[in-house]
Amino acid sequence: MSTIHILKERERQIYQKGNQPFDMVCEKVSVAGSVSQRACVFCGSRVVLYPISDALHLVHGPIGCAAYTWDIRGALSSGPELHRLSFSTDLTETDVIYGGETKLYQALTQLIDIHHPKAAFVYSTCIVGLIGDDVTSVCKKVEKEKGIPVFPVHSEGFKGTKKDGYKAACDALFKLIGKGAIDDISPCSINILGEFNIGGEAWIIRDYYERMGIQVVSIMTGDGRVEEIGKSHGAKLNVVQCSGSMTHLAKAMQEKYNIPFIRVSYFGIEDMAQALYDVASHFKEKPEIMEKTRELVRKEVSDIYPMLQKYKADLKGKKAAIYVGGAFKAFSLIKALKHLGMTTVLAGSQTGDKDDYEVLRQMCDDGAVIVDDANPLELSKYLIEKDADLLIGGVKERPIGYKLGVGFCDHNHERKTPLAGFVGMLNFAKEVHATVTSPVWQFTPRRDNSG
């Protein structure tokens, strides 16, 4: 692993913090042939809408797109679980030749009759874009016949990046907003955007806001319900996490419904507290909200602080590498790791923009590597060069870390314990501590001192 080539085209997507000028290239499509960790437009739409649990999610395409997205995200529901099933029009050769509209119509009507969903989303996949099925008009027809909203999601895989998929999902959501009555909504009310209830995180966040005296009108889309989303235009503020996926929607709501939005993160102590304070200061006409918020933060932090100190004692000076989807999450993680006494030696994202990388650069120490759209070779190269003790990433990064003998924390949709909120910070510390200090590394070649 002494030397690896970095493709010339990719040189400016990697930056090592030092003296050279910072001119990060990003937001470009992956170089053909690179083993990118990125996904497609469909993937982006699917992940954003997936947690709406009383809606029907029908994938219009060959079987694969539905099979690979069947219940792979732990987006928990407190009620219906229709979203966890997999529905596909399973297009075959004849459909590709003669068109899939009839099949789509039959599948949709049949499913609506069986499951009585509150709404339906129809995802277009690559092939649908090519054969030119008029998905929109099928949706309109079914909507009229069945009396529920049926939304086409224009998520043909090749029509951009995962970000464009987020946008297509936001467009579909936006059409749903405004359909419900809003007379019972309090003047101190918010929507939580970009929170998908992985491991039950949305419930933790909702609880915080409610304890502050804020009404949470809807969560988009964690533990989501069609009816709640339909009246989300009654909320007075949009609180946007995972900005990459939901800012588009927040902007659209601002324009149409005049609802301002703020960007937050729920990972780590500072960012979590900031997310609550920012909301509280938005409703300054009610000073008791800020009071309650202070009280809440004080209590929550003091609850976890002693344990965090214990973990920190073991983790001090350990080195972490971060490779996540959105750069915003990387910011929070760097701060959270600092709390645990750890330094970040590599920070990367699949979809960050130039400003994001500038923030990352400022946050990291000298020598840290910042990378956009990394491939496995690059990741492994820097993991070894920087002698990382921990890799934070998703499913495809996990075995790379383990093969090298590096601890791993899943901060993607396969995490099982909530990592958001104050309690999430404690869970995060616990998980990082468990993997970094695990005795299993004594057997791995890079840490083996026996001979």
């Binding site: 692993m1 080539h5 493709l7 992956s30 053909a32 042939g33 690179s34 083993v35 990118s36 960790q37 990125r38 996904a39 497609c40 437009v41 469909f42 993937c43 060959p62 079987i63 694969g64 797109c65 099979a67 690979y68 069947w70 219940d71 792979i72 679980e81 529905f87 596909s88 399973d90 297009l91 075959t92 050769e93 459909d95 590709v96 009839t102 099949k103 789509l104 039959q106 599948a107 049949q110 069986i114 499951h115 690559c126 092939i127 090519l130 895989g157 090749f158 951009g160 496995p376 070779l377 492994s380 495809k396 996990r398 075995p399 093969k403 090298l404 003998g405 057997f443 791995t444 070649p445």
Partner: protein, 458 residues
């Protein structure tokens, strides 16, 4: 209950698949390509396909899975993917430096009509493929067949591109192991070795997708059949293709191309199918079956006789891939279990006929469907409950809702370890399968036994 939506009433549903029992061709092609040494699979399509396949394979094997993608954009979809593929080939050889690239197509590139062979030839002409390196391909549109046929197509492509006949027979046998686990491929090699038969096993994912922890990240691990080995397959004494659907096309292609006689057998799962495999190896290579193998067979037989009272009359529901299900059904019937609901997601008429033959002695009705889904299978189970279910991880929902024990077998297994290391083929694999079946059946008996009949010795 997660599957509360499953209704008892079975209705005709030809426009709709609910909870699929298959996935698409490209992932099978990718898996097969990983069984070639120093090969980078390449997905000629959108980025998402490649990411999904890699994620799914990673979850199943718990190993890094490498593959490139042509990263189609809207432009490529209008003007064709040639530029993307040529650039990809250039980049891959420059940066990742594999010996071979295995390109598979997707619904997108197939529908656009990209001609991969022609594009690869162009890349060769313009010097993008270094000397001694290769690009080969299989056509695997997602709207045809299933992951199994995708595997079969890529395996056949290995023959089409590489098998050569130089005229001098080699004392070796080609074994095409089928769409099985790396552990199974390893076991098949072990059996051949025990019988002193030099074998070219292809594809061979052992030591690629069940590799050791080395502290190093190797993009191309040690395992996999080499191109040089593949070239020699045209001079072998014969070919054994295991599993009609997954291995048949490659075995027949080798016969046609290089006149290597072939036999296509069932996957060697269970005692009878393994007997046929061992016997075919014996007669093809002209060797005797060594004692070691007879002992293994004897042990499997011993487990079967020792425990047969627990198997008798137990109703079983099976779901998975055709080649596996055929052998598994035969095995279960041979030990007096009753497989009564059998579904594969892969379409194909012969499957249903074969299963009907194998289950003809079972008392009561047997439901079988090729091109079915888990929803239908679940409905059958609701209407006629079983004692045991065998299938992939997705069956766990049904297992929980219906409170029926489950043995995980097939693809994908996302929530357990072991399948990469312990085979289910061969006599030893048979013992492992029985162990797994007995474990869940006896655990269930223990769980449900009233205290007075909860016994130490069962």
């Amino acid at each position: 209950m997660l599957l509360r939506h499953t209704t008892n009433k079975v209705a005709d549903r030809h426009a709709l698949t609910v909870n699929p029992a298959k996935t698409c061709q490209p992932i099978g092609a990718m898996y097969a390509a990983l069984g070639v040494h120093s090969c980078l699979p390449h997905s000629h399509g959108s980025q998402g396909c490649c990411a999904y396949h890699r994620s799914t394979l990673t979850r199943h094997y718990k190993e890094p899975v490498m593959a490139g993608t042509s990263s189609f954009t809207e432009g490529a979809s209008v003007f064709g993917g040639q530029a993307n593929l040529v650039q990809a080939i250039d980049n891959i050889f420059t940066i990742y430096n594999p010996e071979v690239i295995a390109v598979h197509t997707t619904c997108l590139s197939e529908t656009i009509g990209d001609d991969i062979a022609q594009i690869a030839a162009k890349a060769r002409e313009s010097g993008k493929i270094p000397e001694g390196r290769y690009v080969f391909h299989a056509s695997t549109p997602s709207y045809v067949g299933s992951h199994v046929t995708g595997f079969a197509g890529m395996t056949r492509a290995m023959v089409d591109y590489f098998a050569e006949k130089c005229g001098k027979k080699r004392r070796q046998i080609n074994i095409i192991p089928g769409y099985v686990e790396p552990s199974d491929m390893e076991e098949i090699k072990r059996i051949a070795k025990l019988m002193d038969i030099p074998a070219v096993v292809f594809p061979d994912t052992s030591n690629v997708l069940n590799g050791p922890q080395t502290g190093k990240y190797e993009m191309f691990p040690k395992g996999g059949v080499t191109i040089d080995q593949l070239k020699t397959t045209g001079d072998s004494m014969g070919t054994l293709g295991l599993g009609k659907l997954a291995s048949g096309p490659a075995a027949h292609a080798l016969d046609t191309k290089c006149k290597v006689p072939c036999q296509v057998l069932d996957l060697p799962i269970g005692i009878k199918a393994t007997d046929r495999f061992v016997d075919a190896l014996r007669s093809m290579a002209g060797v005797n079956v060594p004692d070691d193998i007879n002992i293994e067979r004897g042990r499997l037989l011993d487990v079967i006789t020792d425990m047969h009272q627990y198997f008798f009359g137990k109703k079983v529901a099976l779901i998975g891939d055709p080649d596996q299900l055929i052998s598994l059904t035969e095995f279960l019937v041979s030990i007096d279990m009753w497989p009564i609901h059998i579904v594969t997601g892969t379409p194909g008429k012969k499957f249903e006929k074969r299963i009907r033959e194998l289950t003809s002695e079972i008392p009561g009705p047997v439901n079988v469907k090729a091109g079915g889904d888990m929803f239908l299978w679940h409905q059958w189970i609701k209407n006629d409950p079983v004692d045991l279910m065998i299938g992939n991880t997705y069956v766990k929902y049904i297992s929980r809702d219906e409170d029926i024990p489950l043995v995980r077998f097939g693809f994908p297994i996302l929530d357990r370890a072991g399948h990469s290391y312990f085979p289910t083929v061969g006599y030893r694999g048979g013992i492992r399968l029985l162990e797994k079946i007995l474990d869940v059946l006896l655990d269930r008996q223990d769980r449900d036994a009233p205290e007075e009949s909860f016994e130490l010795v069962m």
